[in-house]
């Protein structure tokens, strides 16, 4: 039997057979009694908290993932392969080729995402940041939607389908209605939220009424959504008259578009402000409202929630509706913010990316926002990276980040960091309470 069981990765586990009277291993109150070791100073305590904290783990996970990405970039680079052919004759060539390949790729990433130091004008130089935020907008919105669902214990894998349906509804109102400016875009946005809400609501209702596993249902709805939008783009209502292409009519940018926050050539639009608002709203919903209390309770322990009178079925449906609405808004960011048309690929990979965003953000609103920005940066950088290597490397980096985030002990053991549970006692004089035997 192993002497050291790994700590649970997601939340402090609650082993069922804990001996009666034991305090939990995490966050337990130390007993006042004979001490065994030197008293800890404030500085050391702070240092230990930083070293064992989750921010550091997240940062290191990103570093590790970028390293893994570097390996792949190097392996796939033709110069490296060529130099590796005669590695033993001139090893320096291979190493140089590796460095060149990796540096070029990550430099492109930086230039595409943050600051283009090779640009010829200051405007173009800071464009990358705005691109990052533009890409981040749908990621944040959908990520928030999924985070809400995850907190309720619902694994909403249907972001893709909900984004699509949101885009469909929003685009339709956009190009077919003729309304004054503020009303038009607001209605379109609300329509998008409605579309996503309905699509997710189907899964919610099925889960509540029949117990159908929401993972399977939402995944199936993703595929149905894809075929649905493809079909709609062949119908009269959604086509440009006379054109054989599966593209919708243009959505008028004067009335039904999120206004640009900065002038062209910047693409950053008001959807980003919507994302910020949504972050705040989700925070308030989860942490300060009764509905949020119910959502968290149902997610943590549906049996106890039911016994306390909470209607878990209602919570499931409500949560999926909110989740879908946010994903629908992400779809609106696409059709009303950047693309201004509806195509079959409107959801791109945002649906699955949003899952990784929510996981990296640990399903907390602020964390999801930041994670959305990070992955938006990866996307923006990836566009420029394509000249050096394939954009698919971004997917690899993203998934590795998420896997590592989900297993903090793994990251800790790689870097030999202390675990947050191995906590020595507090400073002498701190109030302690008797622990019952």
């Amino acid at each position: 039997m192993s002497d050291e069981t790994p700590r649970p990765a997601t939340e402090p586990g609650d082993p069922a057979d804990r001996p009666e009277g034991a305090t939990a291993r995490t966050g337990g109150t130390p007993a006042a009694g004979p001490q065994d070791g030197p008293i800890e100073t404030r500085t050391r305590e702070l240092l230990r908290e930083v070293l064992s904290g989750s921010w550091l783990v997240s940062l290191l996970a990103i570093v590790l993932a970028l390293l893994a990405g570097a390996v792949l970039i190097a392996v796939a680079d033709s110069d490296v392969q060529e130099a590796a052919g005669y590695f033993f004759a001139r090893p320096a060539d291979t190493l140089e080729a590796v460095w060149n390949a990796v540096y070029a790729a990550y430099e492109a990433l930086f230039r595409g995402a943050v600051y283009d130091f090779r640009a010829d004008s200051p405007t173009r130089a800071i464009r990358p940041v705005t691109e990052t935020l533009t890409f981040a907008t749908p990621l944040i919105l959908a990520g928030l939607g999924l985070a809400v669902a995850f907190r309720a214990g619902l694994l909403n894998i249907g972001g893709q389908g909900q984004i699509i349906l949101g885009a469909v509804f929003g685009a339709f109102i956009g190009f077919s209605a003729d309304l004054p400016v503020v009303l038009h875009v607001t209605l379109a946005a609300l329509g998008a939220a409605l579309g996503g809400a309905i699509w997710a609501g189907i899964a919610g209702v099925l889960k509540a009424k029949t117990g159908a596993n929401e993972v399977i249902v939402t995944i199936m709805l993703n595929n149905i959504g894809l075929y649905l939008v493809a079909y709609l783009l062949t119908t009269q209502a959604f086509r440009v008259p006379g054109s054989p292409n599966p593209i919708s009519p243009q959505i008028p940018t004067e009335t039904a578009a999120y206004p640009l926050l900065l002038e062209a050539p910047f693409r950053l639009h008001a959807g980003f402000l919507l994302a910020i608002l949504a972050t705040g709203a989700v925070w308030w919903l989860l942490d300060r409202s009764t509905t949020g209390f119910e959502i968290r309770a149902a997610g943590a322990n549906p049996h106890a929630a039911r016994t306390a009178g909470i209607s878990v079925d209602r919570v499931v449906i409500l949560t999926m509706v909110v989740s879908g609405a946010l994903c629908g808004l992400a779809g609106s960011a696409q059709v009303l913010g950047t693309e201004h048309v509806l195509t079959g690929g409107v959801a791109a990979s945002y649906g699955f990316d949003a899952i990784t965003v929510a996981l990296l953000g640990r399903s907390k609103p602020v964390g999801t926002f930041l994670a959305g920005v990070l992955f938006g940066a990866l996307r923006a950088g990836g566009v420029l990276m394509q000249s050096e290597t394939s954009i698919d490397i971004i997917l690899v980096v993203q998934s590795i980040i998420v896997l590592l985030i989900a297993a903090p002990p793994l990251v800790r053991s790689v870097f030999r960091l202390p675990s947050p549970d191995a906590r020595p006692r507090r400073r002498a004089g701190a109030a302690t309470t008797e622990v019952t035997a």
Binding site: T210, M220, L395, L403, L410
Partner: protein, 424 residues
């Protein structure tokens, strides 16, 4: 938690149990839908049954569409009546009633589609196609069963299929042998399975999350390597290889079942073996007993000395290998080169098949075959120009899956310790 006290329901207790109207209603609805199939006019539908090389040739059957559908409708109505009677008596429905109903419905549909047209309805081809298309689904579902029975949810079937397809294509191309490619495919699947085991069993990460992320990772990796290394060296690394059909002497020429079952590639024959092996091993072998114990009540298994973590890890890796083998179907099994995201969501359908089949190999295979048949049907219909948008038709398998998971299957009983990390 109270243990059951009675050993069996008393007669008066049975009388109080609510009547389950679900099946009769489902049958009734479908029978009513089938009424639409009566609008066929005066034409006849021709079915082709034989294939070249059969022992004896069954001539194409041409049936008057209206009369045929009336008969089939009667069969469906009779089945509905039986279902009603069984429901009222609170007796189980059995399997031949749904089977008879299903066959009648599908035949009626086909008759309706082909009525009055010159194109034939190639029944045998339909069935053979169904079997072929269900290969990745069957392998995937078997993988799911092996993993989930020991308590590990395997959402990464999709990634394992894709990884298997990738490695099969590359190895097959490098060695110019489809068979070697097929042999390499399980290795890729096992690697993905190993990652799943690593994160889920060792680090207690939620298994569904790991599975979804692994799928993204595999897509990223394979697409990356495809866009870079494979595209640059496609002649060496991604040349098409194909596995020939191996007709089994004698059996391959029996009409209908011959071409369908016995004129397939080695991969399909391996699939038969895998299904039979899975069933026998799961319920009659020591490994199977341990697996099921670990999946239902790991603590009980632990107290008897069974290593829970190790069993789960081994099963997950084996499951990954099985799914990887199924992935070979997409490339060397179909004579295609590797392309991005080739597995196209089949892994998720395999999962659905496993749930529909109630976590048993036999049930999972039946469900997978049903999905394969649906796919084959859609292919045939778009070929026959049925006039319905192919996009809408392609939605059908997914919609059926939703109905299945929600209605037909509803609240079933997965292995009790699923997705619960075993913490000592």
């Amino acid at each position: 938690m109270s243990a059951a006290v009675a050993t069996g329901p008393r007669a008066e207790e049975r009388a109080l149990a609510p009547v389950s109207w679900r099946w009769p209603i489902i049958y009734a609805v479908f029978t009513l839908v089938a009424l639409a199939f009566l609008r066929v006019g005066d034409g006849a539908t021709t079915f082709r049954i034989s294939r070249a090389g059969d022992f004896f040739e069954i001539p194409d059957v041409s049936l008057p569409a209206l009369a045929t559908n009336l008969v089939l409708l009667a069969v469906m109505a009779a089945a509905t009546a039986v279902a009603v009677r069984r429901a009222l008596r609170r007796a189980p429905i059995g399997w031949w009633v749904p089977a008879a109903f299903g066959i009648a419905f599908v035949l009626a549909f086909l008759t309706w589609v082909g009525a009055g047209r010159t194109t034939l309805i190639p029944l045998t081809t339909l069935l053979a196609g169904a079997l072929a298309l269900s290969v990745p689904l069957v392998f995937g579902a078997m993988s799911g069963v092996i993993c989930e029975r020991s308590g590990v949810i395997n959402i990464a079937i999709e990634g394992q299929l894709l990884a298997g397809a990738f490695l099969a294509a590359v190895v097959g191309s490098l060695t110019a042998s489809a068979y070697l490619g097929m042999a390499a495919a399980p290795i890729a699947g096992a690697l993905v399975g190993g990652l799943l085991a690593f994160f889920a069993v060792r680090y207690w990460v939620d298994q569904i999350i790991v599975g979804v992320v692994l799928n993204v990772l595999v897509v990223g990796l394979t697409s990356f390597l495809f866009s870079t290394v494979l595209t640059e060296n496609s002649a060496v690394l991604n040349a098409r290889q194909s596995m020939p059909d191996i007709p089994i002497p004698g059996l391959a020429y029996i009409p209908v079942i011959g071409p369908v079952l016995f004129r397939q590639s080695l991969l399909v024959y391996l699939m038969y073996a895998a299904v039979i092996a899975a069933h026998i091993l799961l319920f009659r072998s020591r490994w199977g007993l341990r697996t099921r114990a670990v999946g239902e009540h790991p603590k009980a298994a632990d107290t008897v000395g069974i290593k829970v973590e190790r069993t789960r890890v081994v099963n997950t890796v084996i499951g990954g290998a099985v799914a990887g083998l199924g992935g070979a179907f997409f490339t060397v099994g179909s004579g295609l080169a590797f392309g991005r995201e080739m597995s196209a969501g089949q892994g998720y359908i395999a999962l659905a098949a496993m749930i529909l089949g109630r976590w048993s190999p036999k049930g999972a295979v039946a469900a997978a075959l049903m999905f394969g048949f649906a796919r084959s049907l859609v292919n045939m219909l778009s070929g026959a120009g049925a006039g319905i948008s192919s996009d809408l038709l392609l939605m059908l398998p997914y919609a059926v899956t939703i109905l299945a998971v929600a209605g037909f299957v509803g609240r079933v009983r997965p292995p009790a310790a699923e997705n619960v990390p075993y913490v000592k």
